[in-house]
Amino acid sequence: MTRMLSMRDVRKTYSTGVVKVDALRGVDLSVDEGDYLAIMGPSGSGKSTLMHIIGCLDIPTAGTYELDGTDVSKMTEKELAEVRNRKIGFVFQQFNLLSSLSALRNVELPLVYAGVPAAQRKQRAMAALDKVGLADRVQHRPGELSGGQQQRVSVARALVTDPALLLADEPTGNLDSHSTAEILDLFAELNGAGRTIVMITHELDVAQQAKRTVFIRDGLLNSTDALLAGTVQ
């Protein structure tokens, strides 16, 4: 099985003025192709920092991070942008859809930045929207869609580039239980078809949908700390 994501002793230190914050203090993490990993942790645990580094939105202060065979830990901003575009599909808690664009145009966005020609772009965006069950809503603006539908649009946007990794940051945090179930079913279905998924969450029942769960606390991972799971809940 192919190693999709591999972190070795990843550290991240922020210095805000005089205060130095060690957000990550030596994280080792491996995710194989087809895996479905949930990362849990309380606020202030370094969960968001880890998500940023996995998503190539930020680079580690120390340590190595390989994504799909490429070392991304020392990349420039331009190179990181290209890696994000090609290898990662993001699903955010706030959906982060552009309100002035139709669902179709929102899903097309990553392809626009990838330089895909218009005709092919539209075809692929339609296919992605079809996959999340929104083929009949392509011309709707985000404001005309329910929360669950908006999150499905953003899943379609994450899938449209056929990325190596689907990275979801609290994907159900803004959804009711019905929509939450819908999204989690969709993730399970995608994973069943071989898609690698990493999901950050603080809800245990959401994390339980994943194949495995790791916990982060004070900038360190602990994959077997069952007690910690209890405290999170």
């Binding site: 331009k78 290209e82 090609r86 955010f92 552009l98 002035s100 930045y113 990838a114």
Partner: protein, 409 residues
């Protein structure tokens, strides 16, 4: 990312904030329209001055009296009395003195109250000689000009301008009619063909009488022989500077002065055009400069609104970066937005400028010139202003870290 996509996205962003975009464009619009109108007005005025001076006659040289600027010799002490005389004119007419001069017309003028049998009118009364026709390149529409013998014998005859004829005699044929000028009776023998209006006076509202008659019966000057100026015409354009030198040299010798304290000044049509256009050129530059400042203010408006736009759209920028937009793509996005604001403002400004120029041309009877190069320059400048104003906001957008941008609420 393709250019067409960049432009499409920029237009969508500007369209989403339509009112604000329009107001921002207004700044550029006003600046461009103001520059176009002031420059056009200046150019139009220059063209008009040039054509009016050229209409005075061809190859013309004008000698005017001037006070000496230095200590003021006995000639300069004479107050308003002219330093030029009929003797000067006679000397310049001598081909051995000034071989390149073709015609000499001494001029004296006074404001005259005219009275025909039916009405009264006020006009400029000019005393001169038959050569005036040659020098000023004017034709007689009906009747005839007075002759040299009529000048020599100081006949009371008058040639009047077309407008003067209409005012005094309306539909009656003026030839042979009697007109009273400042209480003196004259017979109208000719009417001039129309010339159009000139710089200082209406060339069609004038009365010409023989110089001698003028001196005897109309002049207010103490000296019978003095004239207010001498108009000369050179043989042709090529010998004009030689003619100019001959006039200058002959008059300096006759007046026994050096060129430093000359009591007269000699100018050619070319030098008149040069003086007039340099004055209006400076004025155009000044007005254009003020208008240019308003354009600068418009540019600052674009920069300001782009900065506001960047800080409002931090989250959007963050998202676009997360989805794979490189800093260069984000920078280009905002530069294109600013460029479109500038260019659209410029296009509207040029439109207003062209319409305004047409309206001014109609209402001011000054030809407000709007040339194609000026229009193209205005468009290029407005695009340039947009781009320059966009550089700083665009690089701020490009430098935003994606995580900071996404975090911002």
């Amino acid at each position: 990312m393709e250019w067409s996509e960049t432009i499409k996205t920029a237009v969508a962003a500007l369209n989403a904030r339509r009112m604000r975009s329009l107001l921002t464009m207004l700044g550029i619009l006003i600046g461009i329209a103001a520059v176009m109108l002031t420059v056009g007005l200046g150019q139009g005025t220059q063209q008009q001055i040039t054509s009016q001076i050229n209409a005075l006659g061809s190859n013309m040289i004008i000698v005017s009296p001037s006070q000496t600027t230095t200590s003021g010799g006995f000639r300069g002490g004479g107050g308003a009395a002219s330093t030029l005389t009929t003797a000067d004119a006679a000397m310049l007419a001598d081909p051995t003195v000034a071989p390149d001069i073709a015609a000499v017309a001494p001029i004296s003028s006074v404001s005259g109250s005219l009275q025909s049998s039916s009405t009264t009118w006020t006009s400029t009364v000019v005393g001169t000689v038959p050569d005036w026709q040659t020098v000023r390149a004017r034709e007689v529409a009906s009747g005839r000009f007075f002759s040299t013998s009529e000048v020599d014998s100081a006949q009371s005859v008058a040639v009047i301008g077309s407008e003067t004829a209409t005012e005094l005699f309306s539909s009656v044929n003026p030839i042979g009619q009697s007109v009273s000028i400042n209480g003196q009776s004259f017979t109208v023998i000719g009417v001039l063909a129309e010339a159009g209006s000139s710089l200082s006076s209406n060339e069609d509202d004038t009365v010409l009488v023989p110089l001698t008659t003028f001196a005897n019966r109309l002049s207010t000057s103490t000296s019978v022989n003095s004239v207010s100026s001498i108009y000369l015409s050179g043989k042709d354009a090529d010998s004009l500077s030689a003619a100019y030198q001959q006039v200058q040299t002959a008059l300096l010798a006759a007046h026994q002065v050096t060129s430093d304290d000359a009591d007269f000044s000699v100018s050619t049509q070319a030098s008149l055009v040069e003086t007039a256009t340099s004055v209006s050129g400076v004025l155009t530059l000044l007005l254009g400069g003020v208008a240019g400042i308003s354009l600068l203010v418009g540019g600052i408006g674009v920069m300001n609104i782009m900065l506001v736009s960047v800080s409002e759209r931090v989250r959007e920028i963050g998202l676009r970066k997360a989805l794979g937009a490189t800093p260069a793509v984000i920078r280009r996005q905002f530069l294109v937005e600013a460029g479109i604001l500038g260019t659209l403002g410029g296009v509207l400004g040029v439109t207003i400028g062209v319409v305004g120029a047409a309206i001014l041309t109609l209402t001011l009877s000054i030809d407000v010139a709007v040339s194609v190069p000026v229009t193209l320059l205005a468009l290029v400048v407005s695009l340039g202003i947009g781009l320059v104003a966009g550089v700083y906001p665009a690089s701020r957008a490009a430098k935003l870290a994606p995580i900071d941008a996404l975090r911002s609420e």
